[in-house]
Symmetry: D2
Subunit: 478 residues, 4 copies
């Protein structure tokens, strides 16, 4: 089957009728709901990117599983150094334009490694099923939503010890499948996907074995409900304001499993609690290597916007403090991206065939760029100036008399019209002083695991004993 | 006259009919417009604060000018060390609850010093007029809007050299007054004030003398127009979401002077271009000493919210990385506040009687806390967790069936109900992932002058020559 | 008695014959030993400072205890806001020239408060003894060495639980006094003092009561031994190199109490374990308020040296990155100093009469400036340039033929001779690439308690409960 | 010829008699001078490393030029991705033990690219000569000293405009060669090398063409003089103190060319001013990619020392603030190393065959780690504790009676002897409070070009126009 266009994708949604709620109301037609417009456009843009002539030789790739081209960022299992390097480049490219590259191929790849481990350790036969599932996805060009993070309830207790369980678990085993109950949180773009894949999110003990569950189901499976938070963009039409968030970025959802049946052939893990930690471990490698590139892309977007704002303000990039802050952001972006590439080149192949980057470098680079994001936001305010927070709205500009006043008062660099200047500051505002700001911060700080998890990974994997041994040798203790 | 209550203030607005526009439409009744609700409540809270029994001995003060009590933060001319110390404490207190302490007494005080300078240098008699104006304000309990920042147009050129002038200037001198034209930007809370005071915002040359103008006029003077940007809070009623921005924080406005007449007795500066720089210079001292305390207050609010979020999440403040990030914020708040107090104690009396804090310390402390704000925002996301960006809306919670799911899925620390947890995360969201976030950042980064101005003040006032001389002595060069 | 001159001080040392060791050899005459030269000059400079006409009105002060002038930084009990403000100014002034202001008046003042507490709580009569001791010091113009820090042995155990005790403790109580044994570390300048004062350094339990001991003894008391580490300066004569460390800064010593007798009238604490923590607590307030000013002084010295180095290198302070790094150091120095003043103004009087600054501000400011010191060192290297590490030695310059080559090769800014340039880079080297560098870092990081103690103080004293309460109110939890 | 051992190298020095001065005196026998001991041991260790069985498959490499094994870090021309990746690993490894990996292969490789450019642009035939020179080096196993940095005199003027020239230049052209005069600074390890290679260090104009000169000469060529600064280690024998600097790290020298003759066949550039900038440009790529790994190594050494110090102090690595600071250093080391690898994988082949890493990533990563070095030094003080600055000297420990006192007082973790504890703190002292400290800082901050050059490279090579274009597209400006 040929690669789908964004339009094909939107069409394909009409065959699905997931149970989705927004602002307390049931969404009838996902593909037509105004509050889901940006979500759907975002995913559609991902489909189109795979076909974009400028990128196609990298953004699509022939899958060895089905012998057909698939969109790389969405559906490819990453198998070698080139895969992770190209992915990093494309991720930076896309997130530098639309914040999120929708890199579901990471999720599919780390699950691939997990499930291979299960069969290896337990003699189960999940892996062939999972492979079959991936082939189906690739052949149909379907995208997944990813259910990894459990709500966790009282964090001082493991899932099985909660007074009232919150996390996703198996409540019944039947010959033809299982019944699951509970919730997953942070299901980004969920309502507009075709399939939902779930995996465990943390180490589990023997008593938690019902929580050791992984499977895939269609998004409109009975009992599956999504409560979605509207995307950060405006619901009304705008021409100038919110130029980014009015087009892209999507809903975040909480996914409820109200006694959902999962058929045998879509179950990939069921009770193998001792391997649950492998998933977040692989995720910490492959997805955070992406996240370094993704954050570099965000920083690129801040850089371009800030430089352009300085230009339309008439200050130019030559003003020393502006130039220096922009250079500092450049160096931050390149350091994070350097770590994405460096983690790739320091990586190795997992027995399942998936290529896993060096987790120490990936987590270190990510920790660094995360620690800079707040400062970059401040720089955007600093460089774009106070107007970012105080400027008139687009509606004022559309009012003929007010327009005349605004046009006079807010002209800046004479090489640009006032409208051009407004447009640029609106973009800076969209990034730095809108609901999108919080989404970007959320993406930077908490997506792909919170900052402390970076420290934990590095602390555990860095070879400290070697370094202590060298110190002992030099000091003369051995 | 006794101190006004917030209610009195709202009532008093009914006698004013300023020309205000929001979202392209003329606002009929400022006091009744839903998009101005938070603005008015914010100012009203300032009035009530002066009467609050817990603070009254400091939040109101007997003005030596009129022999009556006035609200300290709004209307008092700061004359001694105690004045600036108490102001700093109250500013931290209020901005730690409502973001902005509305400290217009700073503006009145620095203008006091400027105008005194004018008379001293030029033999003019502006100062008695200004004093009279202040007395009127104090007697009537009126608040001012502050028009300082000019739009500046092409920043590479002074105001008089602009192809098309943008800044506020005198276009006609008449026996009974002057006609002014142009604009001022960043008129915070403007539409809900009683009087507008304008001052110059930068150094001016002889050719710019028409731009050297200061005066006060009632907010509803003919020809005066305000184009206001709605406050960051929601326009619809909420019970849980946006708990801060739904109540407080206000509009930002652009003020247009469409050939406005200013009567002689309200003109405080007209042509004395050589003293224009004094205003921003005094502002850099007195207002930034406040701003240090204000930013300490913002940080306090982040600290309380983050600590409470950790608590309701069930992680508690004992988790090391959370405790350490909160401690880091505490130290940042206290460092900024320490500089506010330290600048006070290092200050001195201006000949006009105004007490001016040490500008080097004030600008250094402000520069420090500004550089931390982005990181504090990140910490709020980090500590409150991903839900801050992905949680269901209040409307979902109000839907009985969804409520049941949410209640199950999002319970955290068993000592709190799910609703309590939601409320706390909504507050974190309001601070860290809403339009208010951008307002807070804007307040932190650009209000009171952009960060580079802090460096410039310190660079110019620090006694570098002394330090070089000591180095020469030690090195043996003299 | 009139204030002593530095020369008087040196003369006074001849009446003391302490048991001091350096590099494994016993020091015969402290006042004449070449490795103690800088130490003695440093202390002597402190005496002269009290008499320096430029500073005398502040650097000496009439002590209310003896009705005579005493050197403020060495011998005054700080009683009011002015005392701590003036001390902060002088400390910055001196440490900006000689690294250490030798501010023993802090130590005497916090001990004053501790001992007052003991009498108040236990009905003992230590305080009159201590007062008498202070009067004697003041009348004789004697300086103290300060023995606070115990070696602590195995830090996981309290002093009484150590397998082999290390810390100073009472081993015998006699009618006329006590016998003490153990050690104190970090006795800065110790061998050149007249008297030694010891105090406990941490919280103690009942079983540790023998470790709860404070007293004063002459430096040459039998059984008291000091093992001193040579000061960082060169032992040979230099004309150009090490311009600072060849003159000032002193030894650090470990003090051994080999069964030392302390007469009754010099015992100030003996067994009152429950009050032991008060001392470090007061120290954390008064001495760290000084330390903020002291670190500001170090930074001032770096600033002057860096600016001068840029000048002699021919780069000048106008080069943007140099100017900006210097400005950043200015702002750091002023922020720390601002906190020193701010802590003062936020302080209060202890029942004993000592004025204790606000510990939260003092510790926050100190934590800040400490975190910058390493960066400031890097800036010094950056601005002074690679020559700082690679330049020829003074001996090369004194070799006529080599001098000719060096003179040709290393001329920089034509307004300065090569020798002048060398002298300046030698100063930068002394600060940034000599043994003094480590001393400065040690002073910055560990003196006055390690950085983590700053966090602990702030965390414990900041009113977090108030901030959580406000967050609860806003969120609607109460 | 087989690879030389360190011993062979030392033997080889006996055939050279360079004119070297230290502390104003001529050095007779370089190989036997006590102040050159560490230098020679350092270089010898580099030879032995190439033969070390643990590393040999990477530390030596078959040179395609001569078909023989050569020590990789000293003599290999880097031709492909593997070369630069392996070099980065080895550099980190060695600099994590001995501070400097002596990576002269970088210098030889970038000169290779420069000289290839000259022939390509000017039709000269320098490249074959240079190739021949490299072959000779490789066949004889000789190491080079590197003369790149000119003293620059008055930095506001180009070399030819100096009142009195300082930089190395051709003063006479003869049929058989040239006569050169002037100086180079920062000739690390210079006196102990066999050959000296010089290159230009900056952009030159046509009038500066005499300064556009590159050549190689034996270290003992007539007229070549080196004025060396003693290495940071102690000159006397130590058993415990200065455990690193007493063995390794070397002199820094200023190299004087007192009318030195260079024969035709060793001239590689002479007058081609228009290509002079290429050398620092290639250097900024290949050598800074190394420097990222080198600084990671320094950080590794700090980590091991700090962790061991915490251990012997009895605090252990479990103490939260220690663990966190060590983790922070780990992440810094890995970020820098990640950028070294990432720069490698982003690199490309120069027409000469040399593989040049991505300069933007290399400079960004280097800028990052440099900005952390001062803080890491502070952490070393913080974690090792105050003893680092105040502990007794080794001589005290060797004094039997003092030893007894020290042994009692300074025991820490009972699992270690006091001597072991002292040894570890001596190592921390060597790194953090000795002359070596300044050398490490100098290496970190100024070696391989000062920090501002990193910013300049990134600013010039980052594709800002692309980012502005994307911002324009999103904002709707095109």
């Amino acid at each position: 089957m040929a690669l789908l266009t964004g339009k094909d994708y939107i069409e394909s949604l009409k065959s699905f009728s997931p149970e989705v709620y927004m602002r307390g109301e049931k969404v009838d037609q996902v593909w037509a709901h105004p509050l889901l417009r940006q979500t759907i456009q975002h995913i559609a843009a991902g489909y189109d990117f795979a076909l974009d002539p400028e990128y196609r030789d990298r953004s699509s790739v022939r899958s060895p599983l089905v012998g057909e081209e698939v969109p790389r960022l969405q559906l490819h299992i990453q198998e070698n150094l080139d895969d992770v390097l190209i992915k990093a480049q494309l991720t930076r490219e896309v997130s530098g334009r639309r914040i999120c590259a929708g890199c579901m191929s990471n999720m599919l790849s780390v699950t691939w490694a997990l499930i291979h481990d299960l069969d290896a350790a337990h003699g189960t036969d999940y892996f062939p099923r999972y492979k079959e599932f991936i082939k189906t996805l690739q052949r149909n060009g379907q995208v997944i939503a990813w259910g990894m993070m459990d709500p966790k309830g009282d964090r001082s207790l493991p899932p099985a010890k909660q007074k009232q369980p919150t996390d996703l678990r198996v409540i019944k085993r039947r010959p033809d499948g299982i019944i699951v109950r509970g919730a997953k949180v942070h299901t980004t773009f969920g309502p507009a996907a075709h399939q939902l894949v779930v995996v465990p999110c943390r180490a589990l003990g023997q008593e938690d074995k019902d929580y050791a569950v992984s499977f895939a189901i269609p998004i409109d499976t009975t009992g599956l409900k999504m409560i979605a938070r509207p995307s950060p963009g405006p619901s009304h039409d705008v021409r100038m304001e919110s130029p980014l968030s009015s087009k892209y970025m999507g809903v975040e959802a909480m996914t409820i499993f109200d006694d959902v049946f999962v058929p045998e052939e879509r179950i990939f893990m069921c009770g193998e609690w001792d391997k649950a930690l492998n998933l977040p471990f692989y995720f910490a490698s492959l997805h955070r290597q992406s996240k370094c590139a993704c954050s570099a892309g965000h920083t690129d977007l801040f850089i371009g916007t800030a430089a352009l704002a300085a230009e339309v303000n008439g200050l130019g990039r030559k003003v020393t403090h502006i130039r220096d802050k922009i250079t500092e952001m450049m160096m931050a972006a390149e350091t994070a991206f350097g770590c994405s590439l460096g983690a790739a080149v320091g990586g190795q192949k997992h027995p399942s065939g998936v290529f896993l980057p060096d987790a120490v470098i990936a987590n270190s680079g990510l920790s660094f760029i995360r620690s800079r994001m707040g400062t970059h936001l401040s720089y955007l305010h600093d460089i774009a100036g106070g107007l970012l927070s105080t400027m008139p709205t687009e509606a004022d500009w559309n009012h003929p008399e007010l327009k005349r006043y605004i046009d006079q008062a807010l002209r800046g660099n004479p090489s640009y019209t006032t409208e051009e200047r407004l447009r640029v500051i609106y973009l800076a505002q969209d990034l730095g002083a809108s609901r999108l700001t919080g989404t970007i911060l959320g993406f930077s700080i908490n997506a792909a695991g919170s900052p402390v998890t970076n420290s934990i990974v590095v602390r555990n994997l860095y070879d400290l004993e070697k370094r202590i041994k060298i110190a002992k040798e030099i000091a003369g203790l051995c």
